[in-house]
Amino acid sequence: MKILVPIAKVPDTTSRIAFIDNNTKFNPDGVTFIMNPTDEWYAVVRAIELKEKQGGEVVVIHVGLADSDSVIRKALALGADRAIRVDADPTDAYFVAAQIAAQAKEGAFDLIITGKETIDYNSFEVGGMIAELLDWPAVAQVSKLEIENGVATLKREVEGGTETVEVKLPMVVGAEKDMAIARIPNMKGIMSAKGKPVAVVPATDDVKLTVIANYALPDKAKQIKYISPDNVGELVRLLHEEAKVI
């Protein structure tokens, strides 16, 4: 089985967010970039677990510039076999999905696993877009994934519960919590990652469907009102009369 895992590079969760160029660009100064958490913890690791159990190959794909190397090496250190980097600045979800879908077609993959959403744009767009570009089924919010005889059995979250569904491969899976247990690369993994191939390929087309006009930071920090623990009734009153939420 050949599994493709798209990985994104995002600012670390604790980063201070700031913008430059008249609020049109993210300011990367002093920011640590990491692999998108759900890509790493659930998508990459589950792909590796499936390979360990059933054999096959795990390929990670990233759309980004040369400074993404550390993110790619981490995926290889975790156990991915090789990587593809599409050498382009990822500015639009459709553009990213088109690059990944083009590589997926060429590589004859059986399964694509993506993370739940990236922590920068919080959108979960790319997985669905890849599926549509390939005309594949896609299931998101997946917390369990097993593959047998070319059929995936998945547990997906639905409002107020879960559903177990079956889908014939090939397909796209959107992974979230509980799908795998996050791993830390070991020394052997880190050493072997250095020798694993990273194919750098040019972008195939240049269609973009959206543009980010500008960014903004929230106006100001919230003004908190403290209520004495001896006067809890006051909280109920404020929630009703002032905040009007009860």
């Binding site: 969760t13 958490p37 979800a93 459709y94 999905a97 922590i119 920068d120 744009y121 919080n122 959108s123 979960f124 767009e125 997985g127 669905g128 599926a131 549509e132 570009l133 089924p137 896609a138 299931v139 998101a140 919010q141 979250e157 639905v158 409002e159 107020g160 519960g161 879960t162 559903e163 177990t164 569904v165 079956e166 889908v167 397909m171 979230e176 919590k177 509980d178 469907l209 959206t210 980010i212 006009a213 960014y215 903004a216 930071l217 929230p218 919230k222 908190i224 009102k225 403290y226 209520i227 623990p229 809890v232 909280l235 109920v236 404020l238 929630l239 009703h240 905040a243 939420v245 009860i246």
Partner: protein
Amino acid sequence: MAVLSFVEIADGKIKKASVEAAYYGSKVAESLGTESVAVVLGTADAATLATLGEVGVKKVLHANDARFNNFDSKLYTKLIAEAATTAGAKVIVASFNPNGKLVSSRLSVRLKAGYVPGAVELPVFTGNELVVKKNVYSGKASAHYKVATDVKIISVNPNSLSPVRTAGATAAVEAFAPSVADSDFTIVVKSVDKITGTIPLTEAELVVSAGRGLKGPENWGMIEELAKEMGAATACSRPVSDVDWRPHHEHVGQTGLTIRPNLYIAIGISGAIQHLAGVNGSKVIVVINTDSEAPFFKAADYGIVGDAFQVVPKLIEEYKKFKAAH
């Protein structure tokens, strides 16, 4: 020309998030001087669908076919695309909920339509160009997306705007019979495991949430009691779900659910940035914590520095009094 909203049914009712999407679609239609149309896939009661008229929907295209009852992103994309053609839709609106997200991103490809995921405000049109705001960096910033494609797609962040209802207004429900082949169905549902008797977190307007400050799973009785009194859903922080004090589906935060209720009461949760990422869209946040330095207070509207074991029982009593008086 029209604006088409994708409306979902759960347990015979229109999902709250879908009512918001339909309302948003109606507002967009109004600003464009066109008609608000909704599409519903699967069995549903026509009288229920007609109530979409209260949020400005003029027409509901209803594919009343049990084969469409289970969400299948590939199938739904094809059906909604056909509904968009039938209605002549230039803007498609869905909820930024799990199904809405997946289907919108697929439709974006199918219709070569620019897509804005998770809009928090109504869009502004200038000629053929649309600009709309969405949150980015887990709620730490916002961005204005610009879309100029012929067809445009927007998914609406749940609880971003409150639908204004015109009581008694009804939408015309029309049969919609899309053409499908066996090969369009890609998902077989083997079993469903519903959690009964509780309010689904993503649909809840009020949420009571607790964390490690509660010291052990045996102390959740008062949290559940408060939630029950208030008609709220219960949630928890990641450490609590990781050690199985609470079920995993209650975990809110960056790696769990993202929620945007009207009221989020956080009890014994310190407010790590990863937790805030999942709840900072809440309209009002109340924090109850013994540690006055807990970072959560910085994101709160109301705070009580105090021991949960004393404050929560008092809050239950005070809420009961309030309920009796209102």
